[in-house]
Amino acid sequence: MNGMRWILAVIAVAVLACVPWFGSDVVVQFGISTLLLAVLAQGWNIIGGYAGYASFGNSTFFGLGAYGVAIAMVQWNMPFWVGMVFGAVMAVAFAVLLGLPVLRLKGHYFAIATLALAQVVAAIVSNIPLFGENIGLVLPPLNNDAMFYEMALALLVAATLTVWWLTRSRFGFGLIAIRENEEGAAVMGVNTTAYKVLAFALSGLFSALAGGIQAYWITFLDPASAFDISLNVKMIIMTVFGGPGTVLGPIVGAFVLSAISEVLSSEITSVASLFFGVVVVAAVVLMPRGLADVVRRFRKSGWHYFAENIRAHKL
C-alpha cells in the first residue's frame, strides 16, 4: 500500500477510536458488536479466504476463548487478561491438535468435520463442572463500554495487520498456493501441513480473543451461545459478502451487514432472523464473489453483473 492509503487507514482508525466520546451508548454497543464480528470474519479469512479451507468450526475457538475468560474470572478469581491468555492457549492447542487430522480432509468433508467438532466440544463442555456444565457461567458485571470498544478495535487492527502481513509474506503466498492447487504447492516445496495448521491456529487465536472480550462484555456464557453455529455462518457470510482473500473485504462485509441487520432488528425484531436467512440466500446467488468484486465489475457490466454470476454457476 502506498503512503496515501496508509494515511487514510490511520485516519479511519483514529475516527473509529473516537466514537465512544461523540457517539451515544447505542452506537458504542453497536460498534463493539460489529468490531468483534469483523475480527471473527478476518480470522476466518485466514483459513477460509486465503488457504481455501472453509471452516465451520471457528465458533469452537470463539467459545473456547470465551470460556477461558469466564473460567479464569469466575472459578479462579483471576484478572481478565489471564483469562484471555488461557482462552487463547486453549484455542491454539485445540487448533493444532485437531487441525492435524482434520486438515487432511478436503472440501465439504473438512467443513462438515469442523461443524461436527463444534458440536462435540459444545456437548463435552456441557458436561464439565469447571465450565459450568449446561447452565453456564455469569461473569462479574463491569459498566465500561468504552473500554470494551477500544479493546475490540485494537484487536481488529491487529487482525487486519496480520492479514496484510500475510499478503506480502512467504507464508501468505504459500496459503494462496495451497488454495489454488494444493498438490502443486506441495510439489513446489511448500510444507502444506505446517502452513495449514499455522493458518488454522492463527484463525483460532483471533476468534478466541474476540470470544474473550465478548464474554466479559455480555457477562453471560453457556454452551449454546458460546459455540453457536449461526455465528460461524455469520462470519463466513460477512467475509464472502465483503470479499474473501482480501485484506479489507471482511471488515466491509461485517460493517455493512451489521448496520442493515441492526436497523431492521431494532424496529422489527422478529424479522431480523428472516432477514438474515434471505440475505444469505440472495448473497450466495447474486454475488458469490463478494462486494469487492461487485464494485470492481459493476462499472464494466452494469446490472448484467448479477445475471452473469447466476449464469456462470447455475445448472
Binding site: S24, Q29, I135, P141
Partner: protein, 402 residues
C-alpha cells in the same frame, strides 16, 4: 480503492443513523422487558407479554400510579428475544441505555433471568422477574433483582410431603432432571427433601435439555422398579416422556412433573394420556386472593380468558404480580429514583391476585406449592400447605388397564 470508500461511508452512515434515533421523552413510567415471543420457549413466553399488558392496562384504567400528588400512567416496551439468551442480554442493555426505560420486567426461564439480571445489576435499575426460580439467580448478593417465583429447590416440597402420606407409600423414587439452571436447582433441593423424608432414591439422572428420546431412561425405570418418578424438565421433554412411557408400557405408581400439568396446551396435546399425572402450582385462581386492581384471582382468570382466549396459569399470574409490585413500590417510594424504588420493593408486603407479595433478603418470594393432578381430563388440587385437599388417584394403573 473503492472498497475502502464504501467501508468508510458505510460506517459513517451507520453512525449517523444510530445517532438519529433519539428516544422520545414521555411522562409515562416505562417498564421494559425482553420476552420470548418467538423461538422454542415462545409457548410460555407469551403468558408474560399478555400478563404484563393486561396488568398495565388495568392499573392505568384505575388512574395509574400516584407519584407525589400526580397520577402517572405506566407504559411498556417489550422486545422479542427469540428464545436466545444472548439476544435477551443485548436487548436489556438496549432497554436501559438507549430506550432509557425506568424499570425492568423479567423474561421467562431461569437461565434467561440469570443472565439478564447481570444487566440490571450493572446499570443499577431494579428488575422484578416472574419467570426464573433457580436459587442461583438469588445467591450472588445482587441488590437489583427480585423474583416472584418460589424457590426452585422447594418445588417438590409439597409433593414429597404428600408421598409420605400415600397408602401404600412408594418404596423407591427416581429423580430425573434436565441440565439447565432451573431444573438442576430443583434436583439439588429435591435430593435433600427426599433424604429428610426418608425415601429411598434408586435413580438420579441428569439428561440433556431438549432431549427427544427417553426410551433408555424409561427402560431403566422399569428395570429398577421405581414407584415414584419425579421429573424436572421442559414441557416438550415431558410430553415426549409421557408418550414414550405409554409406548414402552412403563407405569410407575405415580409420576410428577415440574411443568406442563397446569397448562391447557399440554393437557390437550396428551389427551387422555395426561390422566394421573401430578404437577404443582404456587397459584390457583381462587377468590381468596384479593387484589387492588383485579378484584380477586378468580375475576382475574375470567377476564384474562375473555381477553386472550386461553386460561392463565401461574406464569401469567406471576407476570401480573411483577407489574403490580412496581406500581406499589413506586407509590411507596414517592418517585422513580431507581435506588429508592429498589428499597421500596425490598420492603413490600401486600396482598394481590398472586398471593402475598413480599421478598426475602435475597430478593426471592417464598410461596408454598400446591400439588395438582389431572383427573379425568381436569386439573384438581390434591395437596396443599394444610394437607390433603382432594383425594389423589393413586396408584396409577397399567396403561392397558385404563
Amino acid at each position: 480503492m473503492p472498497s475502502k470508500a464504501i467501508s468508510f461511508s458505510g460506517l459513517l452512515a451507520g453512525v449517523a443513523l444510530a445517532l438519529a434515533i433519539t428516544p422520545a421523552s414521555a411522562k409515562d413510567i416505562v417498564l421494559g422487558a425482553s420476552v420470548q415471543l418467538t423461538g422454542s420457549s415462545a409457548n410460555t413466553g407469551r403468558y408474560y407479554k399478555d400478563a404484563y399488558e393486561f396488568a398495565v392496562e388495568k392499573i392505568n384504567e384505575a388512574g395509574g400510579v400516584k407519584v407525589g400528588g400526580e397520577q402517572m400512567k405506566l407504559a411498556l416496551k417489550i422486545y422479542d428475544n427469540q428464545s436466545d439468551v444472548n439476544l435477551s442480554v443485548r436487548q436489556y442493555t438496549q432497554l436501559v441505555s438507549q430506550d432509557k426505560v425506568d424499570f425492568l420486567l423479567g423474561p421467562f426461564a431461569s437461565n434467561f433471568a440469570l443472565a439478564d439480571s447481570a444487566i440490571s445489576e450493572k446499570y443499577q435499575i431494579p428488575m422484578i422477574q416472574g419467570g426464573g426460580a433457580s436459587d442461583q439467580i438469588f445467591s450472588r448478593n445482587f441488590k437489583y433483582i427480585f423474583g416472584t417465583l418460589a424457590p426452585a429447590s422447594n418445588y417438590f416440597g409439597s409433593t414429597v410431603e404428600m408421598l409420605k402420606g400415600l397408602d401404600p407409600a412408594p418404596q423407591s423414587v427416581a429423580l430425573l432432571y434436565a441440565d439447565d439452571a432451573f431444573d438442576v436447582s430443583v434436583a439439588d433441593g429435591t435430593r435433600k427433601l427426599l433424604d429428610d423424608a426418608g425415601l429411598k432414591t434408586v435413580m438420579d439422572e441428569k439428561y440433556s435439555s431438549n432431549a427427544s428420546d427417553f426410551n433408555s431412561l424409561l427402560s431403566q425405570i422399569k428395570s429398577n422398579g421405581a414407584e415414584a418418578v419425579l421429573v424436572a424438565g421442559h414441557e416438550t421433554e415431558i410430553l415426549n416422556f409421557v408418550r414414550q412411557a405409554k409406548s414402552l408400557a412403563v407405569a410407575p405408581k405415580m409420576y410428577s412433573f415440574t411443568v406442563g400439568v397446569p397448562s391447557e396446551d399440554f393437557r390437550k396435546a396428551l389427551g387422555a394420556d395426561a390422566d394421573y399425572a401430578y404437577g404443582m402450582t404456587a397459584w390457583l385462581p381462587s377468590a381468596d386472593n384479593k387484589d387492588r386492581w383485579f378484584g380477586d384471582a378468580a375475576q382475574f382468570a375470567d377476564a384474562y380468558k375473555k381477553k386472550f382466549g386461553y386460561d392463565p396459569d401461574y406464569h401469567a399470574a406471576s407476570g401480573a404480580a411483577d407489574v403490580e409490585a412496581f406500581a406499589q413500590a413506586i407509590e411507596d417510594a414517592g418517585g422513580t429514583d431507581p435506588a429508592k424504588v429498589r428499597d421500596a420493593i425490598a420492603k413490600l408486603s401486600f396482598d394481590s391476585l398472586y398471593g402475598k407479595i413480599a421478598f426475602a433478603e435475597n430478593g426471592q418470594i417464598d410461596l408454598p406449592q400446591t400439588v395438582i393432578q389431572v383427573q379425568d381430563g381436569k386439573v384438581v388440587d390434591v395437596y396443599g400447605a394444610n394437607g390433603v385437599i382432594n383425594k389423589p388417584k393413586y396408584p396409577m394403573p397399567a396403561w392397558n388397564a385404563r
